[in-house]
Amino acid sequence: MSALAAPSRVQRTERMARRRRMGSFMTVVVWCAALLSVVPLILIAAHLIIGGARVLSPTFFTALPAPPGVSGGGVANGVAGTLVLLGIASVIGMPIGLGAGLYLAEHGRTRLATIVRYLSDVLSGLPSIVVGIFAWELIVRPSGQFSALAGGFALGMIMIPLVARATEEMVRLVPVALREAALALGFTRWRSSLQIVLRTALPGIVTAALVAVARVAGETAPLLFTAFGTPFWSLRLDRPIAALPLQIYNYATSPYDDWRAQAWGGALVLIALVLVISIIARRVTRSRFGAATGGARGD
Protein backbone atom coordinates (compact mmCIF):
# COMPACT_ATOMS: atom_id res chain seq x y z
CA MET A 1 0.00 0.00 0.00
CA SER A 2 1.46 3.28 -1.04
CA ALA A 3 1.78 5.87 1.69
CA LEU A 4 0.56 8.51 -0.71
CA ALA A 5 -2.65 6.77 -1.64
CA ALA A 6 -5.53 8.10 0.41
CA PRO A 7 -6.74 5.34 2.75
CA SER A 8 -10.23 4.13 2.02
CA ARG A 9 -13.06 4.68 4.44
CA VAL A 10 -13.01 1.03 5.54
CA GLN A 11 -9.26 1.12 6.16
CA ARG A 12 -9.65 4.24 8.20
CA THR A 13 -12.37 2.91 10.51
CA GLU A 14 -10.38 -0.31 10.91
CA ARG A 15 -7.31 1.64 11.90
CA MET A 16 -9.31 3.73 14.32
CA ALA A 17 -10.67 0.62 15.98
CA ARG A 18 -7.18 -0.84 16.28
CA ARG A 19 -5.94 2.36 17.83
CA ARG A 20 -8.79 2.38 20.31
CA ARG A 21 -8.10 -1.23 21.31
CA MET A 22 -4.42 -0.42 21.77
CA GLY A 23 -5.38 2.65 23.77
CA SER A 24 -7.57 0.80 26.23
CA PHE A 25 -4.97 -1.96 26.58
CA MET A 26 -2.27 0.57 27.45
CA THR A 27 -4.58 2.29 29.92
CA VAL A 28 -5.00 -1.00 31.77
CA VAL A 29 -1.24 -1.59 31.72
CA VAL A 30 -0.30 1.77 33.21
CA TRP A 31 -3.15 1.50 35.69
CA CYS A 32 -1.74 -1.81 36.94
CA ALA A 33 1.76 -0.35 37.08
CA ALA A 34 0.47 2.55 39.12
CA LEU A 35 -1.26 0.17 41.51
CA LEU A 36 1.85 -2.03 41.81
CA SER A 37 4.01 0.97 42.60
CA VAL A 38 2.06 1.75 45.76
CA VAL A 39 1.74 -1.89 46.87
CA PRO A 40 5.17 -1.99 48.55
CA LEU A 41 4.40 1.20 50.45
CA ILE A 42 1.08 -0.17 51.67
CA LEU A 43 2.65 -3.51 52.63
CA ILE A 44 5.47 -1.82 54.53
CA ALA A 45 3.10 0.53 56.30
CA ALA A 46 0.75 -2.29 57.26
CA HIS A 47 3.62 -4.46 58.47
CA LEU A 48 5.11 -1.62 60.45
CA ILE A 49 1.89 -0.70 62.14
CA ILE A 50 0.94 -4.29 62.98
CA GLY A 51 4.45 -5.23 64.10
CA GLY A 52 5.25 -1.93 65.79
CA ALA A 53 1.97 -1.22 67.53
CA ARG A 54 2.46 -4.29 69.71
CA VAL A 55 5.46 -2.83 71.49
CA LEU A 56 4.34 0.79 71.42
CA SER A 57 3.51 2.09 74.88
CA PRO A 58 4.38 5.23 76.80
CA THR A 59 7.40 3.49 78.32
CA PHE A 60 8.69 2.70 74.83
CA PHE A 61 9.46 6.39 74.49
CA THR A 62 10.84 6.90 77.99
CA ALA A 63 12.77 3.70 78.69
CA LEU A 64 16.25 2.66 77.69
CA PRO A 65 16.81 -0.55 75.76
CA ALA A 66 16.34 -3.65 77.93
CA PRO A 67 18.62 -6.68 77.85
CA PRO A 68 17.28 -9.66 75.93
CA GLY A 69 14.64 -11.51 77.88
CA VAL A 70 13.67 -8.49 79.94
CA SER A 71 10.43 -7.08 78.63
CA GLY A 72 9.46 -3.41 78.34
CA GLY A 73 12.58 -1.75 76.95
CA GLY A 74 12.37 1.45 74.93
CA VAL A 75 14.12 3.70 72.46
CA ALA A 76 14.34 6.90 74.49
CA ASN A 77 18.10 7.23 73.92
CA GLY A 78 17.69 6.40 70.24
CA VAL A 79 15.16 9.17 69.66
CA ALA A 80 17.28 11.67 71.57
CA GLY A 81 20.43 10.51 69.81
CA THR A 82 18.87 10.80 66.38
CA LEU A 83 17.74 14.35 67.19
CA VAL A 84 21.25 15.24 68.36
CA LEU A 85 22.78 13.75 65.24
CA LEU A 86 20.32 15.61 63.03
CA GLY A 87 21.16 18.80 64.91
CA ILE A 88 24.88 18.40 64.32
CA ALA A 89 24.26 17.46 60.68
CA SER A 90 22.14 20.58 60.19
CA VAL A 91 24.72 22.84 61.79
CA ILE A 92 27.29 21.51 59.34
CA GLY A 93 25.19 20.85 56.27
CA MET A 94 22.85 23.82 56.15
CA PRO A 95 25.19 26.83 56.21
CA ILE A 96 27.66 25.20 53.83
CA GLY A 97 24.91 23.95 51.52
CA LEU A 98 23.14 27.30 51.63
CA GLY A 99 26.28 29.29 50.90
CA ALA A 100 27.34 26.95 48.13
CA GLY A 101 23.87 27.03 46.57
CA LEU A 102 23.75 30.81 46.71
CA TYR A 103 27.16 30.97 45.10
CA LEU A 104 26.14 28.54 42.36
CA ALA A 105 22.99 30.51 41.61
CA GLU A 106 24.63 33.93 41.57
CA HIS A 107 27.97 33.10 39.95
CA GLY A 108 26.87 29.99 38.09
CA ARG A 109 28.87 30.60 34.95
CA THR A 110 32.34 30.82 36.48
CA ARG A 111 34.80 27.97 36.21
CA LEU A 112 34.84 27.47 39.97
CA ALA A 113 31.03 27.16 39.98
CA THR A 114 31.14 24.48 37.32
CA ILE A 115 33.68 22.53 39.35
CA VAL A 116 31.73 22.95 42.59
CA ARG A 117 28.50 21.88 40.93
CA TYR A 118 30.14 18.81 39.46
CA LEU A 119 31.76 17.81 42.76
CA SER A 120 28.54 18.34 44.63
CA ASP A 121 26.82 16.01 42.17
CA VAL A 122 29.56 13.46 42.78
CA LEU A 123 29.12 13.85 46.52
CA SER A 124 25.37 13.32 46.33
CA GLY A 125 25.96 10.17 44.29
CA LEU A 126 28.46 8.76 46.76
CA PRO A 127 27.26 5.67 48.66
CA SER A 128 26.55 6.80 52.18
CA ILE A 129 28.78 4.13 53.67
CA VAL A 130 31.73 5.73 51.89
CA VAL A 131 30.88 9.00 53.61
CA GLY A 132 30.89 7.04 56.86
CA ILE A 133 34.38 5.70 56.15
CA PHE A 134 35.54 9.22 55.40
CA ALA A 135 34.17 10.47 58.73
CA TRP A 136 35.83 7.55 60.45
CA GLU A 137 39.19 8.39 58.87
CA LEU A 138 38.85 12.07 59.62
CA ILE A 139 37.41 12.05 63.14
CA VAL A 140 37.10 8.61 64.71
CA ARG A 141 40.61 7.38 63.99
CA PRO A 142 42.50 10.51 65.10
CA SER A 143 40.37 10.94 68.21
CA GLY A 144 40.49 7.28 69.05
CA GLN A 145 36.78 6.88 69.68
CA PHE A 146 33.39 6.73 68.10
CA SER A 147 31.42 9.88 68.70
CA ALA A 148 28.19 11.74 68.05
CA LEU A 149 30.28 14.38 66.36
CA ALA A 150 31.60 11.91 63.80
CA GLY A 151 28.10 10.61 63.10
CA GLY A 152 26.64 14.09 62.75
CA PHE A 153 29.55 15.06 60.53
CA ALA A 154 28.85 12.12 58.22
CA LEU A 155 25.16 13.01 58.00
CA GLY A 156 26.05 16.66 57.43
CA MET A 157 28.28 15.68 54.49
CA ILE A 158 25.31 13.92 52.94
CA MET A 159 23.11 16.98 53.50
CA ILE A 160 25.45 19.49 51.86
CA PRO A 161 24.79 18.63 48.21
CA LEU A 162 21.06 18.19 48.84
CA VAL A 163 20.76 21.65 50.39
CA ALA A 164 23.11 23.23 47.86
CA ARG A 165 21.25 22.07 44.78
CA ALA A 166 17.85 22.93 46.27
CA THR A 167 19.06 26.40 47.27
CA GLU A 168 20.48 26.98 43.81
CA GLU A 169 17.18 26.06 42.19
CA MET A 170 15.10 28.17 44.56
CA VAL A 171 17.35 31.20 44.20
CA ARG A 172 17.20 30.88 40.43
CA LEU A 173 13.42 31.09 40.65
CA VAL A 174 13.61 34.59 42.15
CA PRO A 175 12.62 36.94 39.31
CA VAL A 176 15.45 38.93 37.73
CA ALA A 177 13.22 42.00 38.05
CA LEU A 178 13.42 41.82 41.85
CA ARG A 179 17.21 41.61 41.84
CA GLU A 180 17.40 44.52 39.43
CA ALA A 181 15.06 46.53 41.62
CA ALA A 182 17.41 46.06 44.56
CA LEU A 183 20.54 46.80 42.53
CA ALA A 184 18.98 49.93 41.06
CA LEU A 185 18.31 51.22 44.56
CA GLY A 186 21.99 51.02 45.35
CA PHE A 187 22.21 47.59 46.93
CA THR A 188 25.52 45.90 46.43
CA ARG A 189 25.31 42.51 44.85
CA TRP A 190 25.88 40.50 48.00
CA ARG A 191 23.42 42.60 49.95
CA SER A 192 20.71 42.14 47.39
CA SER A 193 21.53 38.43 47.46
CA LEU A 194 21.08 38.24 51.20
CA GLN A 195 18.22 40.67 51.71
CA ILE A 196 16.06 40.26 48.66
CA VAL A 197 16.98 37.06 46.87
CA LEU A 198 17.53 34.79 49.84
CA ARG A 199 14.49 36.12 51.67
CA THR A 200 12.23 35.62 48.71
CA ALA A 201 13.55 32.12 48.18
CA LEU A 202 13.60 31.25 51.88
CA PRO A 203 10.37 29.24 52.18
CA GLY A 204 11.48 27.03 49.31
CA ILE A 205 14.91 26.61 50.85
CA VAL A 206 13.47 25.76 54.26
CA THR A 207 11.31 23.11 52.63
CA ALA A 208 14.27 21.62 50.82
CA ALA A 209 16.38 21.69 53.97
CA LEU A 210 13.70 19.83 55.92
CA VAL A 211 13.44 17.27 53.16
CA ALA A 212 17.20 16.83 53.42
CA VAL A 213 16.91 16.34 57.19
CA ALA A 214 14.18 13.76 56.68
CA ARG A 215 16.34 12.05 54.10
CA VAL A 216 19.39 11.65 56.39
CA ALA A 217 17.29 10.80 59.45
CA GLY A 218 16.98 7.23 58.25
CA GLU A 219 20.61 6.77 57.21
CA THR A 220 22.20 3.78 58.95
CA ALA A 221 25.36 2.92 57.07
CA PRO A 222 27.28 6.13 57.78
CA LEU A 223 26.54 5.79 61.50
CA LEU A 224 27.80 2.21 61.87
CA PHE A 225 31.38 3.17 62.60
CA THR A 226 30.96 6.81 63.54
CA ALA A 227 28.11 7.29 66.04
CA PHE A 228 28.33 3.57 66.70
CA GLY A 229 25.34 3.45 69.04
CA THR A 230 25.05 2.71 72.73
CA PRO A 231 22.45 1.03 74.91
CA PHE A 232 22.91 3.75 77.51
CA TRP A 233 21.68 7.28 77.85
CA SER A 234 24.31 9.65 76.49
CA LEU A 235 24.12 13.05 74.85
CA ARG A 236 27.84 13.72 74.91
CA LEU A 237 29.13 14.77 71.54
CA ASP A 238 32.54 13.14 72.05
CA ARG A 239 31.12 9.74 72.98
CA PRO A 240 29.23 7.10 71.04
CA ILE A 241 25.60 8.01 70.80
CA ALA A 242 22.46 5.96 70.16
CA ALA A 243 20.45 6.45 66.99
CA LEU A 244 17.13 5.00 65.91
CA PRO A 245 18.37 3.45 62.66
CA LEU A 246 21.26 1.78 64.51
CA GLN A 247 18.94 0.38 67.15
CA ILE A 248 16.61 -0.96 64.50
CA TYR A 249 19.57 -2.56 62.77
CA ASN A 250 20.86 -4.16 65.97
CA TYR A 251 17.46 -5.36 67.12
CA ALA A 252 16.35 -6.66 63.74
CA THR A 253 19.52 -8.73 63.28
CA SER A 254 19.43 -10.16 66.80
CA PRO A 255 18.30 -13.71 67.54
CA TYR A 256 15.81 -12.64 70.23
CA ASP A 257 12.12 -12.39 69.50
CA ASP A 258 11.37 -9.49 71.83
CA TRP A 259 14.27 -7.52 70.35
CA ARG A 260 12.94 -8.08 66.86
CA ALA A 261 9.57 -6.80 68.03
CA GLN A 262 11.38 -3.76 69.38
CA ALA A 263 12.89 -3.23 65.92
CA TRP A 264 9.39 -2.87 64.47
CA GLY A 265 8.49 -0.38 67.13
CA GLY A 266 11.66 1.62 66.48
CA ALA A 267 10.98 1.60 62.76
CA LEU A 268 7.49 2.92 63.36
CA VAL A 269 8.83 5.75 65.50
CA LEU A 270 11.47 6.60 62.89
CA ILE A 271 8.88 6.71 60.11
CA ALA A 272 6.65 8.89 62.26
CA LEU A 273 9.58 11.25 62.87
CA VAL A 274 10.30 11.53 59.16
CA LEU A 275 6.60 12.00 58.48
CA VAL A 276 6.38 14.86 60.95
CA ILE A 277 9.36 16.58 59.34
CA SER A 278 7.83 16.13 55.88
CA ILE A 279 4.51 17.52 57.04
CA ILE A 280 6.21 20.61 58.44
CA ALA A 281 8.04 20.95 55.12
CA ARG A 282 4.77 20.79 53.20
CA ARG A 283 3.20 23.34 55.49
CA VAL A 284 6.02 25.76 54.80
CA THR A 285 5.68 25.16 51.05
CA ARG A 286 1.95 25.66 51.16
CA SER A 287 2.25 28.93 53.05
CA ARG A 288 4.69 30.11 50.40
CA PHE A 289 2.32 29.42 47.53
CA GLY A 290 -0.55 30.72 49.60
CA ALA A 291 1.25 34.01 50.04
CA ALA A 292 2.13 34.18 46.37
CA THR A 293 -1.38 33.61 45.09
CA GLY A 294 -3.24 35.31 47.90
CA GLY A 295 -1.16 38.48 47.87
CA ALA A 296 -0.41 39.04 44.22
CA ARG A 297 -2.73 40.33 41.57
CA GLY A 298 -2.13 40.37 37.86
CA ASP A 299 -1.93 43.59 35.94
Partner: protein, 261 residues
Protein backbone atom coordinates in the same frame (compact mmCIF):
# COMPACT_ATOMS: atom_id res chain seq x y z
CA UNK B 1 4.72 75.16 25.18
CA UNK B 2 6.99 73.57 27.76
CA UNK B 3 8.80 75.89 30.14
CA UNK B 4 12.41 76.61 29.34
CA UNK B 5 14.48 73.89 31.01
CA UNK B 6 17.44 76.23 31.39
CA UNK B 7 15.45 78.12 34.02
CA UNK B 8 14.95 74.92 35.99
CA UNK B 9 15.97 74.71 39.61
CA UNK B 10 18.10 71.61 39.05
CA UNK B 11 21.81 72.11 39.55
CA UNK B 12 22.99 68.50 39.52
CA UNK B 13 22.45 65.73 37.07
CA UNK B 14 24.45 66.67 33.99
CA UNK B 15 25.11 63.48 32.05
CA UNK B 16 27.80 63.60 29.41
CA UNK B 17 28.06 60.62 27.09
CA UNK B 18 31.26 60.70 25.05
CA UNK B 19 32.04 58.31 22.22
CA UNK B 20 30.30 55.58 24.16
CA UNK B 21 30.38 52.07 22.67
CA UNK B 22 29.08 48.83 24.14
CA UNK B 23 29.51 45.24 23.00
CA UNK B 24 27.84 42.11 24.29
CA UNK B 25 30.24 39.42 23.18
CA UNK B 26 30.64 39.92 19.44
CA UNK B 27 27.53 42.06 18.90
CA UNK B 28 27.93 45.80 19.06
CA UNK B 29 24.95 47.27 20.89
CA UNK B 30 26.12 50.90 20.83
CA UNK B 31 28.70 52.58 18.62
CA UNK B 32 30.34 55.85 19.55
CA UNK B 33 27.31 57.57 20.96
CA UNK B 34 27.87 61.14 22.13
CA UNK B 35 25.08 62.88 23.93
CA UNK B 36 24.75 65.62 26.52
CA UNK B 37 21.83 65.43 28.90
CA UNK B 38 21.45 68.76 30.67
CA UNK B 39 20.10 69.06 34.22
CA UNK B 40 16.36 69.37 34.55
CA UNK B 41 13.99 68.61 31.76
CA UNK B 42 13.13 65.34 30.13
CA UNK B 43 15.18 63.63 27.46
CA UNK B 44 13.46 60.91 25.43
CA UNK B 45 15.32 58.09 23.71
CA UNK B 46 13.48 56.77 20.68
CA UNK B 47 14.27 54.30 17.95
CA UNK B 48 13.24 50.91 16.61
CA UNK B 49 13.40 47.76 18.72
CA UNK B 50 16.93 46.54 19.35
CA UNK B 51 18.58 49.85 18.44
CA UNK B 52 20.22 50.12 21.87
CA UNK B 53 17.92 52.44 23.83
CA UNK B 54 17.85 50.25 26.92
CA UNK B 55 21.56 49.58 26.68
CA UNK B 56 22.29 53.31 26.63
CA UNK B 57 19.91 53.98 29.50
CA UNK B 58 21.36 51.15 31.59
CA UNK B 59 24.86 52.41 30.87
CA UNK B 60 24.06 55.55 32.83
CA UNK B 61 23.58 53.70 36.12
CA UNK B 62 25.86 50.79 35.25
CA UNK B 63 23.05 48.27 35.29
CA UNK B 64 24.74 46.46 32.42
CA UNK B 65 27.65 45.57 34.71
CA UNK B 66 27.88 41.84 34.99
CA UNK B 67 26.21 41.07 31.66
CA UNK B 68 27.94 38.23 29.85
CA UNK B 69 30.67 39.38 27.49
CA UNK B 70 30.19 43.08 28.24
CA UNK B 71 32.82 45.46 26.90
CA UNK B 72 32.68 49.19 26.56
CA UNK B 73 34.70 52.14 25.32
CA UNK B 74 34.38 55.88 25.76
CA UNK B 75 33.20 57.81 28.80
CA UNK B 76 30.04 58.66 30.62
CA UNK B 77 30.34 61.52 33.09
CA UNK B 78 27.88 62.53 35.75
CA UNK B 79 28.50 66.12 36.81
CA UNK B 80 32.01 65.79 35.48
CA UNK B 81 33.00 62.54 37.19
CA UNK B 82 33.60 59.45 35.06
CA UNK B 83 31.10 56.88 36.29
CA UNK B 84 33.18 54.01 34.92
CA UNK B 85 36.33 55.15 36.69
CA UNK B 86 37.77 52.48 39.00
CA UNK B 87 37.15 54.77 41.97
CA UNK B 88 33.41 54.96 41.30
CA UNK B 89 31.27 52.80 43.57
CA UNK B 90 28.42 51.57 41.41
CA UNK B 91 26.03 51.23 44.35
CA UNK B 92 26.64 54.85 45.36
CA UNK B 93 26.16 55.85 41.74
CA UNK B 94 22.82 54.04 41.60
CA UNK B 95 21.57 55.99 44.57
CA UNK B 96 22.19 59.17 42.60
CA UNK B 97 20.82 57.73 39.38
CA UNK B 98 17.49 56.02 40.03
CA UNK B 99 15.83 53.63 37.63
CA UNK B 100 12.28 52.56 36.83
CA UNK B 101 11.72 49.48 34.72
CA UNK B 102 9.26 48.52 32.02
CA UNK B 103 7.40 46.12 34.27
CA UNK B 104 6.75 47.39 37.74
CA UNK B 105 8.81 45.39 40.20
CA UNK B 106 7.78 46.17 43.78
CA UNK B 107 9.24 43.95 46.48
CA UNK B 108 6.71 41.50 47.94
CA UNK B 109 6.45 43.72 51.02
CA UNK B 110 4.26 46.49 52.31
CA UNK B 111 3.86 49.79 50.48
CA UNK B 112 5.77 51.55 53.25
CA UNK B 113 8.61 49.04 53.23
CA UNK B 114 8.95 49.41 49.48
CA UNK B 115 9.32 53.17 49.56
CA UNK B 116 11.75 53.18 52.47
CA UNK B 117 13.89 50.27 51.33
CA UNK B 118 16.73 52.37 49.99
CA UNK B 119 16.74 54.64 53.04
CA UNK B 120 16.92 51.72 55.43
CA UNK B 121 19.83 50.41 53.43
CA UNK B 122 21.57 53.67 54.26
CA UNK B 123 20.89 53.18 57.95
CA UNK B 124 17.77 55.27 58.51
CA UNK B 125 15.92 53.51 61.31
CA UNK B 126 13.76 56.12 63.01
CA UNK B 127 10.15 55.22 62.29
CA UNK B 128 8.95 58.86 62.16
CA UNK B 129 11.70 59.81 59.78
CA UNK B 130 10.95 56.82 57.55
CA UNK B 131 7.25 57.62 57.47
CA UNK B 132 7.92 61.24 56.64
CA UNK B 133 10.20 60.16 53.82
CA UNK B 134 7.57 57.75 52.54
CA UNK B 135 4.90 60.44 52.54
CA UNK B 136 7.16 62.93 50.78
CA UNK B 137 8.15 60.40 48.11
CA UNK B 138 4.65 59.09 47.58
CA UNK B 139 3.38 62.66 47.20
CA UNK B 140 6.07 63.36 44.63
CA UNK B 141 4.97 60.23 42.78
CA UNK B 142 1.32 61.39 42.97
CA UNK B 143 0.38 58.22 44.80
CA UNK B 144 -0.08 59.43 48.37
CA UNK B 145 -3.83 60.03 48.27
CA UNK B 146 -4.47 56.57 46.88
CA UNK B 147 -2.33 54.61 49.32
CA UNK B 148 -2.19 56.68 52.50
CA UNK B 149 -4.68 54.36 54.20
CA UNK B 150 -3.01 51.16 53.10
CA UNK B 151 0.68 51.75 53.75
CA UNK B 152 0.87 48.47 55.63
CA UNK B 153 -0.70 46.42 52.86
CA UNK B 154 1.25 44.32 50.41
CA UNK B 155 2.44 46.39 47.46
CA UNK B 156 1.42 43.53 45.19
CA UNK B 157 -2.25 44.34 45.84
CA UNK B 158 -1.97 47.73 44.11
CA UNK B 159 -3.08 48.13 40.50
CA UNK B 160 -0.48 47.97 37.76
CA UNK B 161 -0.38 51.75 37.39
CA UNK B 162 -0.14 52.25 41.14
CA UNK B 163 2.66 49.71 41.35
CA UNK B 164 4.58 51.59 38.70
CA UNK B 165 4.14 54.89 40.54
CA UNK B 166 5.22 53.10 43.70
CA UNK B 167 8.41 52.11 41.91
CA UNK B 168 8.90 55.74 40.94
CA UNK B 169 8.33 56.78 44.57
CA UNK B 170 10.83 54.14 45.69
CA UNK B 171 13.42 55.58 43.32
CA UNK B 172 12.61 59.16 44.37
CA UNK B 173 13.06 58.30 48.04
CA UNK B 174 16.80 58.10 47.37
CA UNK B 175 16.56 61.71 46.19
CA UNK B 176 18.38 61.00 42.93
CA UNK B 177 19.82 63.64 40.61
CA UNK B 178 18.88 61.60 37.57
CA UNK B 179 15.88 59.34 37.01
CA UNK B 180 16.02 56.75 34.24
CA UNK B 181 12.79 55.21 32.97
CA UNK B 182 12.71 52.32 30.50
CA UNK B 183 9.31 52.27 28.80
CA UNK B 184 7.63 52.88 32.15
CA UNK B 185 4.09 52.99 30.76
CA UNK B 186 4.17 50.33 28.07
CA UNK B 187 2.32 47.81 30.24
CA UNK B 188 -0.31 50.32 31.37
CA UNK B 189 -3.67 51.46 30.07
CA UNK B 190 -4.11 55.02 28.67
CA UNK B 191 -5.38 56.52 31.93
CA UNK B 192 -2.53 55.10 34.01
CA UNK B 193 -0.13 56.18 31.26
CA UNK B 194 -1.46 59.72 31.39
CA UNK B 195 -0.93 59.84 35.16
CA UNK B 196 2.71 58.80 34.72
CA UNK B 197 3.21 61.42 32.03
CA UNK B 198 1.73 64.15 34.22
CA UNK B 199 3.97 63.00 37.00
CA UNK B 200 7.08 63.25 34.83
CA UNK B 201 6.02 66.72 33.82
CA UNK B 202 6.02 67.77 37.48
CA UNK B 203 9.20 65.94 38.40
CA UNK B 204 11.31 67.42 35.62
CA UNK B 205 11.69 70.57 37.65
CA UNK B 206 13.92 68.94 40.23
CA UNK B 207 15.39 65.82 38.67
CA UNK B 208 16.99 65.09 35.32
CA UNK B 209 14.79 62.59 33.54
CA UNK B 210 15.74 60.21 30.75
CA UNK B 211 12.94 58.11 29.34
CA UNK B 212 12.97 55.34 26.76
CA UNK B 213 9.74 55.07 24.88
CA UNK B 214 8.33 53.30 21.86
CA UNK B 215 5.48 55.71 21.73
CA UNK B 216 6.37 58.73 19.62
CA UNK B 217 3.35 60.72 20.82
CA UNK B 218 4.50 60.09 24.35
CA UNK B 219 8.00 61.30 23.52
CA UNK B 220 6.50 64.42 21.95
CA UNK B 221 4.24 65.00 24.96
CA UNK B 222 6.68 64.54 27.83
CA UNK B 223 10.12 65.42 26.61
CA UNK B 224 12.08 68.60 26.09
CA UNK B 225 14.74 66.92 24.04
CA UNK B 226 14.65 63.76 21.98
CA UNK B 227 17.48 61.50 20.86
CA UNK B 228 16.93 59.14 17.94
CA UNK B 229 18.99 55.96 17.85
CA UNK B 230 19.30 53.54 15.00
CA UNK B 231 21.31 50.31 15.00
CA UNK B 232 23.40 51.40 17.97
CA UNK B 233 24.20 54.85 16.61
CA UNK B 234 22.89 58.20 17.64
CA UNK B 235 21.35 59.68 14.52
CA UNK B 236 20.06 62.94 15.87
CA UNK B 237 19.42 64.69 19.16
CA UNK B 238 17.53 67.93 19.29
CA UNK B 239 14.78 69.87 20.99
CA UNK B 240 11.73 67.67 20.82
CA UNK B 241 9.64 70.21 18.92
CA UNK B 242 12.32 70.67 16.29
CA UNK B 243 13.12 66.97 15.93
CA UNK B 244 9.49 66.09 15.33
CA UNK B 245 8.70 68.98 12.99
CA UNK B 246 11.89 69.56 11.04
CA UNK B 247 14.41 66.76 11.56
CA UNK B 248 17.79 67.32 9.97
CA UNK B 249 18.37 63.67 9.14
CA UNK B 250 16.30 61.88 6.49
CA UNK B 251 16.45 58.69 8.59
CA UNK B 252 14.89 60.51 11.52
CA UNK B 253 12.16 61.77 9.29
CA UNK B 254 11.57 58.30 7.90
CA UNK B 255 11.23 56.92 11.42
CA UNK B 256 8.95 59.56 12.86
CA UNK B 257 6.70 59.47 9.85
CA UNK B 258 6.41 55.73 10.30
CA UNK B 259 8.21 54.59 7.20
CA UNK B 260 10.24 52.01 9.15
CA UNK B 261 10.82 50.70 12.63
Amino acid sequence: MLPDPSRSAVQHGLVDVEQWSVWFGATAALSEVSLRITPGGVTALIGPSGCGKSTLLRSINRMNDGAAGLRHAGHIRLDGADIYAPSTDSSVLRQRVGMVFQRSNPFPKSVLDNVTYGARLNGMTDRRELEALAERSLRRAALWDEVKDRLGQSALRLSGGQQQRLCIARALANDPDVLLLDEPASALDPVATLRIEELLYDLRRDVTIVIVTHNLQQAARVSDRTAFLLAGRLIECDDTARLFTSPREPRTEAYITGRFG
